[in-house]
Amino acid sequence: MKQNFASFVKKESLHILRDTRTMLIVMLIPVVLMVLFGFAISTEVNNVNVAVVAPNRTDGIRDAVERLSQNEYFTFKGYITPDDIDPYLRSGKASAVVVFASDYERGVTQAATGVPTKPVIQLIVDASNVNTAGSSTAYLQSILLGAASQQAMFETRMLFNPQMRSAYNFVPGIMGLIFILVCAMMTSVSIVREKEVGTMEVLLVSPVRPVKIIFAKMIPYFAISCVVLVTILLLARYLLEVPMSGGVGGIFTISLLYLILSLSLGLLVSTIAQTQVVALLISAVVMMMPILMLSGMLFPIENLPKFFQVISNIVPARWYIDAVRKMMIQGLPIVAVWKNCAILLGMTIALLGVSLKKFNDKLE
């Protein structure tokens, strides 16, 4: 029976290869998502236009402005008068304006000797984008403070992702999403298609146990997912420059586990859905939404309401994304995320068990 298993796999691969459009989408989605999340959608502060108001341009102020314009995150738009502040911000010519007080130098010297002073720098920031406003304020403060005084201040060090690059954060999330999309959605749709077209009826009336046919179905999708996995990892490493200091082997291992889990999820969906549309809806709505919202991909789990935090425990992507983040960015070895691996493995076994039990070799 070995030889007929191979021909089942061949048949399934033919289905996939002949559906070039779907094939193309599957291969392109990861690339598009990576580029999109990696470059276009970012919460980083980049190219913030800053204007400066300085009644008298002392050496100290020149020094501060120099630091500002040298910084790659800020673009110095020049000195303006106090009257220009409002038009500049409104027209978007500047997103932040730094106003130096006329007695700036004196204030700085006083502060250096420990004498309490009133503020000598004012930051006026366009807060219509809260994220940008928040981070640019913090960043401006640290630059200007460094110039202004030697007084005691917090020294913050960002570990693992010192530049706070959002791509690092999104890559694991995208991986968690893509594999569910490719494996779960595509396998469930392709199994349900056999039901819908009526070929399942013929398959069932044959000596081959349908479970065998279905496993044969999973193999090409597994292969495609592996290609996608390699693509994502290559893009992450060389395009987005994610460090992956924890070793690629571990990331691969846990990703393979997650692939198998996604395939089992697809199998489960196929036992519930009778039509391709239903299979698609279940995969898209019931699976994608929790991954986007409850996996920590977009929002930190700790920020969710308590109820959703509990729910998030049953979302496989949560454990996967968490583990990949630790391995990719923190550089932990796979042993350090053994708990995540164990949970994913347990979920896989449970899903496979339920769907095989639910899978019927009759029509009802």
């Binding site: 029976m1 030889q3 007929n4 021909s7 089942f8 048949k11 033919l14 289905h15 002949r18 559906d19 077209v197 009526g198 070929t199 009826e201 013929v202 398959l203 069932l204 009336v205 044959s206 000596p207 081959v208 009759k362 029509l363 009802e364």
Partner: protein, 299 residues
């Protein structure tokens, strides 16, 4: 022991009684037809016999195996061609056939001489996608696939629906040839004219079998006189004929109305009773299976 034995088989979907206590048996090497309109329960019967469904009550044996207990054994011994086209439209003719051969653990060469009379006709198109074949060719491919493992019993659910007249006739010729090879065939069709090509037929309606006999026997069982009548205004004719004296039944039948009459019916009297009807024609006709079906259905 017959190739198919059905004892008091019943099946319902919710409130709909699809099959109601059906019993019959099919001899080995027989070409047995299930004749009935849509909703007669033919497809349900096929699914029960091919072990795709479990009956609510009753039992059935196919090729000596019980459909409930030995369903895996049955699955390797029967060929099944469902009512709708159930092959892979994106695979070529040859790939479809190869897949079904692999499904049953055989090769195309093993069964080539059995399927050759059918497959030869579509072999010139073997690289064409199955979805692009004509209706008749699709059915020939489906039949080849159903035969690839040399089944003992062949189940064909409405194989001629949606197929042109020439291909329909060809398909029935093929079934007769397969019968000669000793394969038992259970075939269903909504077309009464095809019933004549079967050894025996069962007339079914609304989940019941009305009568089982040879096609000739069924026609012979129609013991009333029958006339074909026509006129310019067919509808008025139908209305009047139904109320005329000595008329048991009158119903539209193709271009004519069929008039079933009792003993006392008198042709001259009938014409007089109808009165002034333009272009009236009345001819004594031989009954067909459909007449018998209508008679049984009304009883």
């Amino acid at each position: 022991m017959g190739a198919i034995e059905v004892h008091n088989l019943s099946k319902s979907y919710g409130k709909v009684q699809a099959l109601d206590c059906v019993s019959f048996s099919v001899e080995r090497g027989e070409l047995f037809g299930l004749i009935g309109p849509d909703g007669a329960g033919k497809t349900t019967l096929f699914r029960l016999l091919t072990t795709l469904l479990n009956p609510d009550s009753g039992s059935a044996e196919v090729d000596g195996c019980d459909t409930a207990k030995d369903y895996l054994a049955i699955r390797s011994r029967v060929g099944y061609m469902p009512g709708r086209f159930s092959l892979y439209p994106d695979l070529s003719v040859e790939e479809n056939l190869q897949f079904f051969a692999a499904l049953f653990g055989v090769t195309i060469e093993d069964s080539y001489e059995l399927i050759a009379p059918i497959y030869k006709q579509i072999e010139p198109f073997r690289t064409r996608r199955a979805g692009k074949l004509s209706g008749g060719m699709k059915q020939k491919l489906a039949l080849s696939c159903a035969l690839i493992h040399r089944p003992n019993v062949l189940f064909l659910d409405e194989p001629t629906t949606g197929v042109d007249a020439v291909s329909r006739s060809e398909l029935w010729d093929m079934l007769s040839e397969l019968k000669e090879c000793g394969i038992t065939i259970l075939v269903s069709t909504p077309y009464m004219d095809e019933a004549l090509r079967c050894d025996r037929i069962a007339l079914c309606n609304e989940g019941r079998i009305l009568k089982i006999d040879t096609p000739e026997g069924i026609v012979r069982g129609f013991d009333k006189r029958l006339y074909g009548i026509s006129a310019k205004n067919m509808f008025a004719l139908l209305e009047k004929a139904r109320t005329a004296e000595g008329v048991e039944d009158c119903y539209p039948f193709g271009e004519k109305h069929h008039l079933v009459v009792r003993e006392e019916f008198d042709e001259a009297k009938f014409v007089a009773q109808l009165g002034d009807i333009e272009g009236l024609q009345i001819i004594r006709t031989a009954p067909t299976i459909e007449d018998m079906f209508i008679k049984l259905m009304k009883r």
